[in-house]
Every structure is written in structure tokens, then in C-alpha cells.
């Protein structure tokens, strides 16, 4: 069975399904027997969730300016796809 130090390098890859089937089987075997690495996998999974939810929000003033920009685009003629040929 692989050691914690070896499993550690591939835990992210295991979690994100980026490792080979052979490596996946070796890590799974290790996780069956190692409580600490199981804790680390759960932690990385939570970290992944925290990152996924950290997207910056669209500020209201930027939204207003973007709406105006879209209106300008819609009102223009030179840039329209059907006006280019």
C-alpha cells in the first residue's frame, strides 16, 4: 500500500478525477485504511466548494454601464454581423 506522502501528492487529482485508474485504485486503497488522508480529502472538497462560490459579484454601477454598452451595440449599425457583408 502507498504511504501518506505518496497519496498526498495526488489527493487533489483523485478528488477531481484527474488521475489514472491505477493511481485511483492505489489511493482508494490507502484511503480505506488512513483516517488522516480521509480527513484531508474532505477538507479539500470543502475548499473546492469555497473557491467555487467565491466569484466576484457584478457591482450595480458596472451593471448599469454594461446595460448602456449593450444598448449602444444594439443601436449601432457598423458592427452588426448582418451589416458586414
Amino acid at each position: 500500500m502507498i504511504r501518506c506522502e505518496d497519496a498526498l501528492r495526488d489527493l487533489w487529482g483523485y478528488l477531481c478525477d484527474e488521475v489514472t485508474p491505477e493511481s485511483r485504485a492505489r489511493i482508494a486503497e490507502h484511503l480505506d485504511a488512513c483516517r488522516r488522508c480521509c480527513g484531508e480529502i474532505a477538507f479539500l472538497n470543502e475548499l473546492r466548494r469555497v473557491v467555487a462560490e467565491a466569484e466576484p459579484e457584478l457591482p450595480a454601477d458596472v451593471g448599469v454601464r454594461m446595460e448602456a454598452f449593450l444598448a449602444t451595440l444594439e443601436g449601432s449599425t457598423d458592427d452588426r454581423p448582418d451589416a458586414q457583408g
Binding site: 506522502e5 498526498l8 501528492r9 487533489w12 487529482g13 477531481c16 484527474e18 480527513g39 484531508e40 477538507f43 479539500l44 470543502e46 475548499l47 473546492r48 469555497v50 473557491v51 467555487a52 462560490e53 467565491a54 466569484e55 466576484p56 459579484e57 457584478l58 458596472v62 451593471g63 454601464r65 454594461m66 446595460e67 454598452f69 449593450l70 444598448a71 451595440l73 444594439e74 458592427d79 452588426r80 454581423p81 448582418d82 458586414q84
Partner: protein, 187 residues
């Protein structure tokens, strides 16, 4: 298909992506992306493909900016991160001795702006794969195509970027006073 309607739906996501790619220049990047998308949106046959299509345009715009500003994409050395484990550092340092959920408590000290600030500190070469894969649900194969690198290179950058990100989270927490027992509790 109404372009403005499609763009409106995607605006919050596009702005978020732009912030992660170019920081304070996000608004300009969104406008550049929308302009290019508008000029070619007749090519878009499937509305379901619009998010991926707009992501591709935005990433290309960002990469053009990096290149035009002479920001060479290089494999920056990230020493000593291969074996770093944030989980183990937290356990060893035990910043919240009275907590029975030490690791979760650590993560929950980070607001979205904190996470974003740490990501922004990563070199582009590592930040872009992380942002695309972990924040915008882009597959690793798609991310490799978007960034014009082989899949193996993309996976290696993701691996190193994640490890550096873990290390930087710890550094950020120490430097921004997130490790105090009362931090973010409002007491």
C-alpha cells in the same frame, strides 16, 4: 437569437471571470469581449453553447492583453510546494485550540473577497487554470484548449497552482489576522 438578452444573462458570470483574469481592468475586458461576441454572434447556432463560447472569447481577449503588455507566460518556479498540505499545517499549528471543527473553522474565516485576493496573487500561468476549472466549471480538456497547452501541461499547472494556493491561504490568514479566535465573529 437576441444578443443583448443572451449577454445580459451572462453578464454577472463574465464580470466575475474578468475580475479573476485581469483584476481592475475587468470592465474593459467585458466590453471588449461583448463587442467581439456581438460581431460574430451570427455564428452561434446553439444557445446552450453560449456560456462556453463567451468564455472562450473572454479568455482569448485576456491572453491578447497579457501578450500585448509583454507579460510573458512562463513556468514560474514554485519551490517547496509539492509536499505542502494546508490540512496538516492547520492541524500542527492548531490556531483555534477550543474548536472541534478546526479545519472547517479555518476555511470559513475566508470570505469571497479573501479567496479572490489569494487567487489574484498567483502567477497567471497557475491562476487561469484554477479559475476556469474550479470557478467556471470548465473541464480540464476544455481549459487546455482555451489556453492552447497540452492536457498534461494543464494538469501539471493545476497541480502546482492548487498547492501554491493552499500555501498562500495560510500566509494570507496569518497576515490578515484571520487566525484569532474572535476573527470574523463580530464579538
Amino acid at each position: 437569437m437576441e444578443f443583448a438578452e443572451l449577454a445580459r444573462e451572462q453578464l454577472p458570470r463574465l464580470y466575475g471571470l474578468a475580475r479573476q483574469l485581469v483584476g481592475e481592468d475587468a470592465e474593459d475586458l467585458v466590453q471588449e469581449c461583448l463587442l467581439k461576441a456581438y460581431r460574430s454572434h451570427a455564428e452561434l447556432r446553439d444557445r446552450q453553447a453560449a456560456p462556453a463560447w463567451l468564455t472562450r472569447i473572454m479568455v482569448n481577449c485576456a491572453r491578447d492583453r497579457f501578450r500585448s503588455r509583454g507579460r510573458r507566460v512562463r513556468e514560474s518556479p514554485l519551490p517547496d510546494v509539492e509536499d505542502f498540505s494546508l490540512y496538516r499545517v492547520i492541524a500542527a499549528e492548531d490556531p483555534f485550540p477550543y474548536s472541534d471543527s478546526l479545519h472547517l473553522d479555518f476555511l470559513h474565516r475566508f470570505g469571497p473577497e479573501d479567496v479572490w485576493a489569494v487567487l489574484r496573487g498567483l502567477p497567471e500561468i497557475y491562476r487561469l487554470p484554477l479559475v476556469l476549472v474550479h470557478m467556471h466549471d470548465v473541464s480540464t480538456k476544455q481549459a487546455a484548449r482555451l489556453l492552447s497547452v497540452p492536457l498534461g501541461t494543464l494538469l501539471a499547472r493545476l497541480h502546482r497552482g492548487r498547492k501554491q494556493f493552499e500555501k498562500d491561504l495560510w500566509t494570507y490568514a496569518r497576515e490578515h489576522d484571520l487566525l484569532r479566535e474572535t476573527a470574523r465573529e463580530g464579538t
